[in-house]
Amino acid sequence: MQTTDTFLIHRLADKSAFVVFNRLNWCTYIISFNQVIENLNEGIIKSISSKDFIVLTAKEQIDTLFKADYWDTFK
């Protein structure tokens, strides 16, 4: 789980998705893990490859996506 002023983010236990609660608009987003991997393969995030991403812990994955401003998509 990762939390900021704006977001509360979890990766579900079966790794099927990340779930995001946006505290600003109270919207919930469910982003499938496959979707994130697809985005990585498309080069949307340059800092890490999908191969390296998969082996990270849930917290590291969420942090990595924070650094890449990926979650801002859900503002």
């Binding site: 979890h10 579900l12 236990a13 079966d14 998705a17 779930v19 609660f21 505290r23 109270w26």
Partner: protein, 284 residues
């Protein structure tokens, strides 16, 4: 006027209740009284007009100043009072997370049965309630936002159409009771069944949710049960939330935690016996 205590909530029901009082007394033993009591919700049975009363009598339910239901013939009052009680909770109680589903408990573990109308959730939960399980709720899971545990209400199950005859043979013990059938409501024929005594209800504790089963009853289908992704389960549970959008971050966090811990299954069935075995395994 009567006060009806469903354990979690007290309702004050005013107006001409004579036609349903006996049924309510039998559905809610040790829970009705005629003395003034502080109530959470007020339901008033009102006549529509004098002319109507003479020609074609109708009543409306004024619930906390709102009239969310169409007027009905007085003979259809019992199901409408039950629906009104559901409406009160789903419209006003945002201190708990309310999910549209039935809830059955055994061995201290709860199973939620969300599902569309006709999925068989009330039939199954009534059947379980009459066969050794505890029916915590027929209409909605009442989930504590701090603990994630589901809480019980002392309310009967609501059965529709063919379900009434399916369940009738199981209404045997002294703590069981099935109401008269109200014919021709907008949902079809309706009967209510009490599955436990008030004494048993008073011993029930909040329970952890062990499983969520999305039911699909189809006479032509063979029994089939498979686990679904937690992401799909979460999305489906949220879509069945009565007040998810107003309970915010607390509801989000508690649902994620429930979905992470629970077994989430999609189940197609045509026979009660098939599903009974599966459900028993989930609460071992």
């Amino acid at each position: 006027m009567i006060s009806l205590n469903s354990g979690q909530y007290t309702y004050r029901i005013r107006g001409d209740i004579e036609s349903v009082e006996e049924q309510l007394t039998r559905l809610y033993p040790d829970s009705l009284n005629h003395e003034f009591a502080v109530a959470d919700f007020d339901i008033e049975i009102q006549q529509t007009s004098l002319l109507r009363t003479l020609l074609r009598p109708q009543v409306t339910l004024n619930i906390e100043g709102h009239k969310p239901f169409n007027p009905i013939h007085p003979s259809k009052l019992l199901p409408s009072i039950e629906w009104a009680m559901n409406w009160c909770v789903s419209a006003y109680d945002h201190t708990k997370l309310l999910i549209h589903c039935s809830v059955a408990v055994n061995n201290g573990k709860a199973i939620l049965f969300p599902g569309k109308s006709g999925s068989g959730k009330s039939t199954l939960s009534a059947y379980l309630g009459l066969n050794g399980w505890h029916l915590y709720s027929d209409e909605m899971a009442i989930i504590n936002l701090d603990t994630g545990y589901v809480e019980a209400v002392f309310r009967p199950a609501s059965l529709k159409n063919e379900s009434i005859e399916i369940i009738k043979p199981f209404v045997q013990a002294s703590e069981h009771y099935m109401s008269c059938t109200t014919k021709g409501t907008h949902k079809g024929d309706i009967a209510h069944v009490r599955t436990m005594s008030k004494d048993v209800y008073d011993t029930l504790e909040p329970c952890k949710i062990a499983a969520v089963l999305f039911l699909n009853f189809d006479k032509k289908q063979r029994f089939n049960a498979y686990e679904i992704d937690k992401s799909i389960g979460l999305a489906k549970v949220i879509s069945n939330g009565f007040n998810y959008s107003v309970t915010g971050e607390a509801a989000f966090s508690i649902l994620v935690s429930i979905v992470n811990q629970a077994t989430i299954l999609e189940v197609s069935y045509s026979e009660m016996a098939d599903i009974k075995e599966l459900i028993a395994e989930l609460v071992l």
